[in-house]
């Protein structure tokens, strides 16, 4: 079986899996990193949202062979370390607004929110309702409104 090497949450990993296995399963089933959740497997629910080299991606749609040794995958578990703190400001905002209900969608929601704030900041503007409407992550518990509030608060501290 081919060996694949890349970085996850700041560490070099090497896995022995067929080329076409999607990154989500490499993370969850092979590496035991269970923060990214399965909710559809076809890149629509966004429960698996993680970052690749700082950008928002959905690992359920990335064959592991697409990763290069220098590629850095960040899952919710590795998010605090990207800012060198116990908790990322977005996670803190989630706590402050008590966003979580069942929690299943929330790792993906937070990773998507962080990426949104970075994109908007790169455009040198503040988050709008349209930006928030553009978050595609499903929350079947219906926590959407608190998510909106938390993203705005998290953005202020990022």
């Amino acid at each position: 079986m081919p060996e694949r090497t890349f970085r996850v949450n700041g560490e070099q990993v090497t896995v022995n899996v067929p080329d076409d296995v999607r990154l989500l399963w490499v993370l969850r089933d092979v590496l035991g990193i269970t923060g990214p959740k399965y909710g559809c497997g076809i890149n629509v629910c966004k429960a698996c949202t993680s970052h690749l080299n700082g950008k928002e991606v959905n690992p359920c749609a990335i064959p592991v062979k697409d990763l290069q040794p220098a590629d850095e995958v960040t899952t919710i578990e590795g998010l605090p370390a990207t800012v060198g703190r116990e908790l990322h400001p977005m996670q803190q905002a989630w706590l402050d607004h008590d966003v979580v209900q069942c929690g299943y969608c929330q790792p993906g929601q937070i990773m998507a929110a962080v990426a949104l704030v970075r994109r908007v900041a790169a455009q040198g503007r503040a988050i709008t309702d349209d930006d928030l409407d553009g978050l595609r992550n499903i929350c079947r518990c219906g926590t959407y409104f608190r998510i909106r509030e938390a993203v705005k608060a998290g953005a202020a501290n990022m």
Binding site: V17, P18, D20, V21, R22, L24, W25, V26, R28, D29, V30, T34, G35, K37, Y38, G39, C40, G41, I42, N43, V44, C45, K55, V57, N58, P59, C60, A61, I62, D66, E77, P80, L87, Q91, W94, L95, D98, V99, V100, Q101, C102, G103, Y104, C105, Q106, P107, I110, G134, R136, N137, I138, C139, R140, C141, G142, T143, Y144, F145, R146, R148
Partner: protein, 762 residues
């Protein structure tokens, strides 16, 4: 002696254990018996005035001997195993709050876990009907209060002071001179070597410092850091990923498989086996399971809904509808409403881990009826129930799904057949197409009136049969005989018990008729109420118009009590009822009472074409609920912040049910196969302004809340839509007639995993 126990005193136990363990009987209610009947002396009494579902579930529980216990450890931690399932509704947090209140211990020193299946609890380990807080409120506090008393007594000996000179603060016991001793140091000294019965008083409501104050969820940190473990995240040795290849039609069974050997030889695949629901594949990763499921060539036998469509079921419902009888001579308002099938999938799909050996089995899953699951799985495996350990895991949502244990039963079957542990998960496409649905239903309402008086209200609800065979049904059948409902089945009893008539509408008759058991059904954050209430509230708007009254004033005039009027007034006031809005936009208002709670919703909706037709990629835009105001009175809100969260979720559901979410049945299968087909509320459908008002406590007892918000929210959105467009909607969701997606193939049953993820990086 029971006779000597006055008001506010409760009996409980100190159990024999090395460290302190105290207990109370679950189902224990306050000794004040007369209060609840007095509360319901209202005009035109219906069955719910005498006893409602919560009473029934609580009464059903009373004779059981199951104790729930609070333990104090040498580390000073207080522990409690809750015999319920946490699926997002926040009951672990509210439970920890009850214990923190009675024990004066900080919330973070209370560890609440979920109890394994405990058959001796009989009816008392079922999470449903928004009953948890209602049924556990008293016994949990009694157990905690006994622990407090024992700790005080032990501390008195240690510190050489009288109990009356001691106080409890932050998990410490302090005497007058300021000397203190921690709970941990007292854990063994306060323990007992034999069971002792003890009576205690509970903290009176006026002295609460924890209950009734907003608290954030105790599991929030775990959830936002990805540490919270759901069933599929558990590390059970050798429990490898497993998925099932399912039929193209609902509940179709395997005829034959053409390429078993070929699929067994695929990369990563360890086992392929035919089971009662399809062909199970076990592999090193779920990705390889998906590939193997797609590679299987199976011939299928027809399913249980062969050839059926929405239209065929609609005609079945028409035939099953009970007659309203001859129209009265007085004027009437009448309407008939259709509610299409809806999926009750949670975001976590059906899943379970099973490790079945020759003489025992172990199951891990989010289960709201673990005792029934244990019994059913044991029967299927040919084991004694005592040989099947059932662990209840925190669930990623439920909405009715987790009352059933479809995945646990399947996982047990696969594990037994292949002789290996399995981590079985349904693909989203399976969860959408073969998973349980909220049944399609119609509701006909007729109201007769004369002048300003409403003479009678009749509602005939006709529904595809709802499967209540998860234990809730057993509670009803076990208790129904004692109720004045005559000789009817438990669905009908359940319907009567869950439907209240909140208005003074004279003679009321609400009846249920069911048909067609060919579907996999279940409740969906309530069984009947959202549809029944939506139909009722739309007719109330019509009636108000007929009597030339404002919808809010009309409701206010006909509501039966002050508590109900208070929530209605609140949303009207905060929401600015009647404020001027542009054409194509409107307000809607609705009221609903259930679970001894009352609630009202006011929404504003924008139905202007530029809003309805705003472009959304792979989603449905539709009218936008721009604002929602919600008021709720649950009697006593244990955790107002959690209660608000539940109402917020209910509003998201209500919007979906009214506007966008349904399943389309064609040729014996549901077309929807994922979230890009099934349009649950998304950010672009979420109100831009939302206010939830938790009313001050009006009772000594908490009412139910988990499902409460859906009905009034759905009804208010429907009413607002009717007022904005000038046409009362009669079919739900309003966009059901338009198929907004390209259906995915049914063979293979699951879609391919995409490969273009990198190109979407942003």
């Amino acid at each position: 002696m029971r006779e000597s126990i006055g008001r506010r005193r409760f009996l409980g136990y100190v159990l024999a254990a090395p460290t302190l363990v105290t207990a109370a009987e679950i189902g224990l209610r306050p000794t004040v018996a007369a209060a609840s009947s007095a509360e319901f002396q209202l005009p035109s009494p219906g069955i719910t005035d005498i006893v409602d579902l919560n009473d029934l579930m609580t009464v059903a529980a009373a004779p059981t001997s199951g104790l729930i216990s609070v333990g104090v450890g040498q580390d000073g931690m207080v522990s409690f195993a809750l015999p319920r399932a946490e699926v997002g509704q926040g009951i672990t947090t509210s439970t920890a709050m009850l214990i923190a209140e009675e024990l004066s211990v900080p919330l973070d020193r209370v560890r609440v876990t979920l109890a394994d299946a405990r058959p001796e609890l009989v009816f008392n380990q079922l999470t449903g009907g928004s009953n948890t807080t209602f049924a556990t409120y008293t016994p949990i506090r009694v157990a905690a209060a006994i622990a407090r008393r024992r700790l005080l007594e032990a501390a008195a000996i240690e510190l050489g002071s009288a109990v009356t000179d001691l106080s409890v603060r932050d998990g410490m016991i302090v005497d007058r001179s300021g000397r203190s001793i921690g709970f941990g140091a007292l854990a063994d000294k306060a323990a007992s070597v034999r069971i002792e019965q003890v009576s205690v008083e509970l903290t009176p409501r006026e002295s609460f410092t924890v209950i009734g104050k907003p608290h954030s969820r105790i599991d929030a940190l775990d959830a936002v850091t990805g540490r919270k473990k759901f069933a599929m995240d558990l590390d059970v040795p050798d429990a490898k990923p497993t998925m099932v290849c399912r039929a193209p039609t609902l509940n179709g069974k395997v005829g034959s498989v053409a390429n078993l050997a070929e699929v067994r030889a695929m990369a990563g695949v360890t086992d392929v086996v035919v089971i009662s629901t399809g062909v199970a594949v076990r592999a090193e990763t779920f990705g390889q399971c998906i590939d193997a499921v797609r590679a299987l060539r199976v011939s299928w036998k027809p399913g249980t809904a062969a050839g059926k469509s929405d239209e065929i079921v609609r005609r079945e419902l028409e035939r099953a509808e009970l007659s309203l009888g001859l129209p009265p001579l007085t004027p009437t308002v009448e309407g008939k409403f259709t509610f299409y099938f809806r999926g009750n999938s949670a975001l976590e799909t059906n899943c379970a881990i099973a490790d079945v050996r020759a003489d025992r089995a172990e199951i891990w899953s989010a289960l709201k009826s673990p005792i029934v699951a244990q019994r059913t799985i044991a029967a299927k495996l040919g084991l004694a129930p005592s040989r099947v350990a059932v662990h209840v895991v925190q669930g990623g949502g439920s909405f009715g799904r987790k009352l059933f244990f479809d995945a646990a039963l399947e996982a047990a079957e696969v594990s037994q057949k292949i002789g290996k542990p399995v981590r079985l998960m349904w693909h989203r496409a399976d969860d959408a197409r073969q998973g349980r649905v909220h049944p399609m239903a119609t509701s006909r309402v007729r109201v007769s009136y004369l002048g300003g008086t409403v003479l009678g209200y009749e509602q005939r609800h006709t529904s595809v049969a709802t499967d209540l065979g998860h234990g809730l049904g057993e509670i009803i059948t076990a208790t129904a005989a004692q109720l004045p409902v005559g000789d009817i089945g438990f669905s009908e009893t359940f319907f009567l018990l869950s439907q209240t008539m909140p208005y003074n509408f004279g003679a009321t008759s609400q009846l249920l008729s069911e048909t067609d058991k060919g579907f996999n059904t279940g409740s969906m954050r309530n069984v009947y109420s959202p549809d029944v209430a939506c139909a009722r509230e739309l007719i109330v708007d019509q009636l108000a118009a007929r009597m030339r009254k404002d919808p809010y004033r009309f409701r206010r005039d006909f509501l039966r009590d002050d508590r109900s009027r208070a929530v209605l007034d609140k949303v009207a006031e905060v929401g600015g009822w009647g404020r001027a809005l542009p054409a194509g936009t409107a307000q809607g208002i609705a009221f609903h009472a259930e679970y001894k709670s009352v609630s009202a919703a006011l929404v504003e909706i924008d139905c202007r074409p530029e809003t309805v037709n705003r472009p959304i990629r792979e989603g449905v835009a539709g009218p936008r609920v721009t604002r929602a105001v919600f008021a709720v009175d649950v009697g006593l809100a244990v955790n107002p912040r959690g209660l608000e969260a539940q109402m917020m979720g209910g509003i998201s559901d209500g919007i979906a049910l009214a506007l966008t979410s349904s399943l389309h049945l064609r040729d014996g299968y549901f077309l929807e196969a994922s979230w890009d087909n099934y349009f649950y509320t998304r950010q672009w459908n979420t109100p831009l302004a939302l206010q939830i008002i938790v009313m001050p406590s009006t009772s000594e007892q908490p009412g139910g809340a988990g499902e409460l918000g859906v009905a009034p929210a759905m009804a208010a959105v429907a009413c607002a839509y009717g007022r904005a467009t000038g046409t009362m909607p009669t079919s739900f969701p309003i966009n059901h007639g338009t198929l907004s997606f390209e259906p995915k193939p049914t063979v293979p049953p699951v879609p391919p995993s995409p490969t273009d993820g990198l190109s979407h990086a942003r």
